[in-house]
Each structure stands twice: as structure tokens, then as C-alpha cells.
């Protein structure tokens, strides 16, 4: 029932707001390198939730692959499997797998590398945020907890982090997430979790994982979210949130106070903020998975909201985009783009 309602709502939203952004941004010329990743013969990428590079240029891809499974013959129904984290060198050669058979891997949504080169994974189904050390060998910090079992049949709201008596989507004031999507850090090491597609909030933790606060709920007013699909934090600690469903990016200060919003970028699904003195934000107006005849372009934008240009559109060919869910922008003018629709990572060079 809930799923049906959600589908109806998103259909209505699409009909009401054509996902074509209303602006006249200049086109940026670009090229997509063929076969940027070399896969072993027996490993395939699935839907790419996340792609990120570390300081050495190594590439990490968190992808929905293999078989998500429910075990029969239990006192409850236990779900496991369905996502893997792969490591490639800077030339795209396969190095290995991280988090094999991890309890926290089921439905990949994002991978990010922090300034210390630690590898952070966000899983939408286990509702966990996992920090690995730079080698991927050790788990350093865990936020959230995988629900022990799944309900059959699925009950509305059964898997949700719960409202905790508050408004819908506000979640509970703790590290319990509902389909989280992304993670980012400020310069003090505070952790910001986009939570997400079930809840509609941003949760802030200190560097040791102690809950500080969260803000947001379902809604359309400033500080409310349709959902939170991606976040980024700038050098001043401001938080940029891709408010999917509301067709905008919202900007908050470090404590969650609403500052401004940018609503001329279509329906932002993936954000990447560059490092350095003049940071820019890349924003993907990703096409919905069921339609390649609309949207798909990626914007380059100043932090003041000024659009510098855009490139690409939805499609299946090289240089076209299929529901981009992740952008890596560590190297200026060279992006890695992870796609849900085309089960691939593209290496994009901007001219």
C-alpha cells in the first residue's frame, strides 16, 4: 500500500514538474573514455550506487551485484547479500574486493573517501554507514544497524527508523537510519549522514560517532525534504543537500539552520564538491530509471548557486547517462560517474 502510494506520488510529481531544468546554462564539451575499468572475467558490475577515488587515484565502486537472498526455514526471514565493493588502481585495473560477505552490504547506495583516505560505504537496505580503513582491511566505525529480519508480507513502515513520536521522516534522534543515501564530513571530522529515502533528515555525529543532532522531515517547506539523495559539506562546514522530489538543493549551516536553496537544476540526485580554493559543485539531474527521454544532464555550479555550465543527457551510449547516482570530482575536469541504469562507471573529461 505504501509502495503504491509512493509510486502514485512520484508519478504526479513528474507530471506536474517536467524534469527539464529551466535555465540557459552553456554546454560544456566533454569526452567519455571507453572501458575505464578492467573487470576480471567472472565479476560484473551491477547498478552502481557509488564511485569514489582516494588520494592516490585508486577507484572504489560500490555496486548492486550478485543475488540478494532471503533464507527459508527460519523463525524469521533473514535477508543477505546483493552488493559488493570493488577496488581498482588509478588506471582502472582491478585490485580486489573489500567487505566480502559483509553483514552491512545489501543495497549499495554510496561510497566516499574521507580526507584521511578512509573508505565509507552507505547501504540503503541495511541502513548502515560503514567506515573502513584505507586498506579496506579493518572496519573502524559503524553507524546504524541492519534490521535483524524482514517482515513477510512487508508491513508499511515496518523497516523504518521510525518517527520517534515526531513528524514523518524526522526519524529518531539516534543512529537508526531508514534507507540512508550518503555521508560527508566537515573539517572538524563531524559526520553528516543523508537519511535518506525512508526518512527525510540529515543526521550529524561527532568524529567518534556520537549522535549530535538531526534535522528535517517530509515536506516542501525550507528545511523539509521530499527525500535526501546526496549531500556535500564545504570548507566552511555548510551542508548541501540534494532534495529529491522537491527539485532543489538546500543549503544549511553546520548546525542545520536553513540558509538558501537552488531550484533550477532539475531533480538533483548526485552531488560532488571539488576541493581547493575555488570549489564547484557538480549536480546530476538524473533521469528516472524508467525513462531515458528526459533529463540526465550534469551541472557545474558555484557555491553561490551560479551555474557555470552543463553537459550530457540521459541515454545508453557512451557519453550518455543512465540515472547517475554518484560523481567523483577529486581531479578537476575529470569525473568518474556511476550509473544505476547502465551498470557502469564512466570516466569523463571536461574540456
Amino acid at each position: 500500500m505504501k509502495r503504491l502510494l509512493a509510486a502514485l506520488i512520484s508519478t504526479a510529481a513528474l507530471a506536474g514538474f517536467p524534469a527539464i531544468a529551466q535555465n540557459a546554462a552553456p554546454d560544456i564539451q566533454f569526452a567519455s573514455a571507453p572501458n575505464p575499468l578492467t573487470m576480471p572475467d567472472d565479476i560484473y558490475l551491477g547498478e552502481v550506487g557509488g564511485v569514489a577515488t582516494n588520494a592516490q587515484g585508486d577507484i572504489f565502486v560500490y555496486t548492486r551485484t550478485g543475488q540478494p537472498t532471503v533464507s527459508l526455514g527460519g523463525s524469521r526471514a533473514f535477508a543477505h547479500g546483493g552488493s559488493r565493493l570493488f577496488h581498482f588502481d588509478r588506471n582502472g585495473r582491478y585490485v580486489g574486493e573489500i567487505g566480502k560477505d559483509s553483514y552491512g552490504f545489501m543495497f549499495a547506495n554510496q561510497v566516499r573517501i574521507d580526507p584521511q583516505n578512509n573508505i565509507w560505504v552507505v547501504d540503503q537496505m541495511t541502513s548502515m554507514v560503514i567506515e573502513f580503513d584505507p586498506t579496506g582491511r579493518n572496519v573502524l566505525l559503524l553507524l546504524g544497524r541492519k534490521p535483524e529480519s524482514i517482515n513477510i508480507p512487508v508491513r508499511a513502515g515496518a523497516a523504518e527508523g521510525g518517527p520517534g513520536g515526531g513528524p514523518p521522516g524526522a526519524g529518531r534522534p539516534q543512529d537508526v537510519f531508514d534507507r540512508p543515501t550518503d555521508v560527508a564530513w566537515d573539517n572538524a571530522g563531524n559526520i553528516f549522514v543523508a537519511d535518506g529515502l525512508g526518512n527525510a533528515r540529515i543526521a550529524k555525529f561527532d568524529k567518534d560517532g556520537k549522535f549530535i543532532k538531526s534535522w528535517g522531515q517530509k515536506g516542501t517547506a525550507p528545511g523539509q525534504f521530499g527525500n535526501v539523495r546526496s549531500i556535500a559539506v564545504d570548507a566552511q562546514g555548510n551542508v548541501y543537500a540534494a532534495d529529491g522530489g522537491n527539485h532543489r538543493i538546500q543549503v544549511f549551516d553546520n548546525n542545520g539552520t536553513f540558509k538558501t536553496e537552488y531550484d533550477n537544476l532539475g531533480n538533483p540526485q548526485a552531488l560532488c564538491l571539488t576541493a581547493g580554493a575555488n570549489p564547484v559543485l557538480y549536480v546530476s539531474d538524473s533521469n528516472p530509471p524508467n525513462n531515458i527521454d528526459t533529463a540526465g544532464e550534469i551541472y557545474k555550479m558555484g557555491l553561490d548557486g551560479k551555474i557555470m555550465g552543463k553537459f550530457g543527457h540521459a541515454g545508453k551510449q557512451l557519453g550518455e547517462f543512465g540515472t547517475v547516482n554518484a560523481i567523483d570530482c577529486r581531479t578537476p575536469n575529470q569525473l568518474y560517474v556511476g550509473e544505476v541504469g547502465n551498470l557502469r562507471v564512466q570516466k569523463i573529461t571536461l574540456r
Partner: protein, 350 residues
């Protein structure tokens, strides 16, 4: 219509979540001495490319080998040597492994697993062969069975409902806490025949009744120490499962451990609640060292995500009362804690 539905769902959820979200209680024991300790951090070294999952169960054998029964993509049982080096996996693909809850090693070094998904208790020989099983895994032929709601069905002699722990007396009788959807402690003889039970499928808070018996241990006299989790207490039963005593001053009754040796101690964990609600780290997470009669000797540790903090200690090994091994749910790790030795005389208060 949608708003109405949402409200109803939200209300139901609040009710459902209430117990879990606020399952924390500050211990009422005051002026308890802090026992100094050091932590090894996560001292186990899994095979290359493998990871610990929720490390809910940990136990040592007489050689100091460490057994971890844990939840990764699949539930698995790993053996490590006393230095934390990986020795082997036991029960790979075994039918009785589905959702780990407890592992204990008996005086003959047999390894016992308690699985709350398969509803099975399994005795493995020291070599890792299946010796005896108790309970039965719900048959898969039933398909994907709907998640059960409503009151628990009547408890059965030989079938468990999410069992939690196992222990033995000196005669080899077997004691099982059972569990999440029964609320009882069951005694079997060493051949697995039913002898007695305390409690029933129904939760209760009187003496000899339980509300989520979450763990148990048996001392050398045959007394049974039960972590009566949702009643926020430990209950002591005699060997025939008659209630003897209640220790209700050490917070939530999450897990109990009774040490070996001529002078046995009871360790009790006031584990922090899952999900870390605000304020929970200030009043939960510590472990108590007690005399078997309930006299508190001291406490150690606190809640936290990073070492030496605890993230929901689910089980302890205390074969050596000055070297405690903890398995944690929410940090996927096993720590070895070295305690400064304490005697009862050092206890300042109960």
C-alpha cells in the same frame, strides 16, 4: 486518506518501537568502585579478505582458543588461537546456522552454538563434528512464512522459539534460555531428555517468570544465573529451576558470565541499547564484577563506538576473571580486557 494511513502507521510504529528504543536503565547500585583495565582492541585476525560481522557470541576453550559465532552475510563460527590468529571455520554451510546468538564451550571442550534463527542448539566436538542437536529448524517446505504477530503459541518440550543461551551443571545437565518468543529456562539431562522448565511462553515479572531471558550460566553448585533482560534484572535459580534470588541493581540484564576456578565470580553487562538514543552513553554500557551472592566488587567500561568503548556487549567470556573477552553487536569486534585484580574486600558498596 494517505494522511490518515500515515498517522495510523506512525502510531503503530511508536508503540512497536517503544520497548526497543528505551530499553535502557541506569543501574541503581551506587558508590561502585571502578576497576582499572586495558583493552587489546579488536585482537582477532580473520582470514585474508574476511571480516567479523555482528560478534554476538564469544567463548574460549581450555587451551585459550577463542570461538566467535557471528553474523556476517551468513552466520558463521570461527576458531582463533589464544593470540587471535585464525585457526579454522567450523560448520560452514551447516543447517543449524542461520542467525547467531550464543556460543559456549563445555568442560570437555565441546563447542555449543545457540541459533535464534534456526531455533537450534548444536553440540560440536572439539574437532568440530556435530555430536547432538536440540530443537528443530522450521521446515523450509512451509515457504516464506508470514511474520508472526500476537501472543506466543504454547511452549513445547523439544522445540525452541528464538533460544538465546546454553549452560551445564557438573553432572552434564543442559540448561537453555528460550528466549525471545518463549520466556522460559529449560533443563535437559545430558542425553537431551526434558526434565523441567521455569517460566513459559508468556512473559512475566514474578519470581521464576521471565521477560526475554537473554542469557544464562551455571555455577559449580548447579545454580543458574539468568539474564532477565526486559525485566532489568538477573535471576538466580537452583538446580531444579526454583527461584532463589534476584539481582536488580545493575541495570539491564543483558548477559551473564560465571568465571572458572575455585572462587567463581559473576559478570553482568548493563549493555547500552541498540541505536544509541540520546543520553544512553551516560548511563549504560558498564560491566559489573560480582560475587555469586550478588555483592558488587566493581565495575568497568562504558558505552562508545571506538575502542575501548562498548557497542552493545552481547556476550562475555570470563574463564579467567581478570581477562575478559567481549563480543559486541554494533561494532563488529571482539576485545580482550585485562582487569586489575580485585577482591571482595576492595568493594566499597553494593
Amino acid at each position: 486518506m494517505k494522511r490518515h494511513l500515515t498517522t495510523v502507521c506512525a502510531l503503530a510504529l511508536v508503540l512497536a518501537a517503544g520497548g526497543a528504543a528505551f530499553a535502557q536503565k541506569q543501574a541503581t547500585a551506587t558508590n561502585v568502585k571502578e576497576i582499572p583495565f586495558t583493552s587489546s582492541g579488536n585482537f582477532l585476525k580473520p582470514p585474508p579478505g574476511e571480516y567479523l560481522g555482528e560478534s554476538v557470541a564469544v567463548a574460549t576453550n581450555s587451551k585459550g582458543h577463542v570461538f566467535v559465532y557471528m553474523r556476517s552475510a551468513n552466520t558463521r563460527l570461527w576458531e582463533f588461537d589464544q593470540n587471535g590468529n585464525f585457526v579454522r571455520e567450523i560448520g560452514k554451510g551447516y543447517y543449524g546456522f542461520l542467525f547467531a546468538h550464543s556460543v559456549r564451550v563445555d568442560p570437555q571442550d565441546n563447542i555449543w552454538t545457540v541459533d535464534e534463527g534456526a531455533n537450534m542448539v548444536t553440540e560440536f566436538s572439539p574437532e568440530g563434528r556435530v555430536m547432538m542437536v536440540l530443537g528443530r529448524r522450521p521446515p523450509a517446505v512451509a515457504g516464506a512464512v508470514a511474520t508472526r504477530t500476537g501472543p506466543n503459541p504454547p511452549a513445547q518440550k523439544y522445540i525452541f522459539c528464538r533460544p538465546t543461551d546454553v549452560g551445564w551443571d557438573q553432572q552434564g545437565n543442559i540448561f537453555i534460555s528460550d528466549g525471545y518468543c518463549n520466556n522460559r529456562v529449560v533443563k535437559y539431562d545430558k542425553n537431551g531428555h526434558f526434565l523441567a522448565q521455569a517460566g513459559s511462553e508468556k512473559p512475566g515479572n514474578g519470581p521464576g517468570e521471565f521477560n526475554l531471558p537473554h542469557g544464562l550460566q551455571v555455577d559449580h553448585q548447579g545454580n543458574v544465573y539468568v539474564a532477565d533482560r526486559s525485566n532489568f534484572r538477573y535471576q538466580v535459580l537452583d538446580n531444579n529451576l526454583k527461584p532463589k534470588a534476584i539481582y536488580g541493581n545493575v541495570g539491564v540484564g543483558w548477559t551473564a558470565c560465571v568465571s572458572e576456578g575455585p572462587h567463581q565470580y559473576l559478570f553482568a553487562s548493563n549493555s547500552n541499547p541498540n541505536g544509541n538514543p540520546p543520553g544512553s552513553w551516560d548511563i549504560t554500557g558498564e560491566i559489573y564484577k560480582m560475587e555469586l551472592d550478588g555483592t558488587i566488587i566493581g565495575r568497568f567500561g562504558h558505552a562508545g563506538k571506538r575502542v575501548p568503548g562498548f557497542q552493545v556487549v552481547h556476550m562475555m567470556d570470563c574463564r579467567n576473571p581478570n581477562s575478559i573477552i567481549t563480543g559486541e553487536i554494533e561494532s563488529w569486534r571482539v576485545q580482550r580486557l585485562t582487569l586489575q585484580p580485585q577482591t571482595a574486600k576492595a568493594a566499597s558498596a553494593q
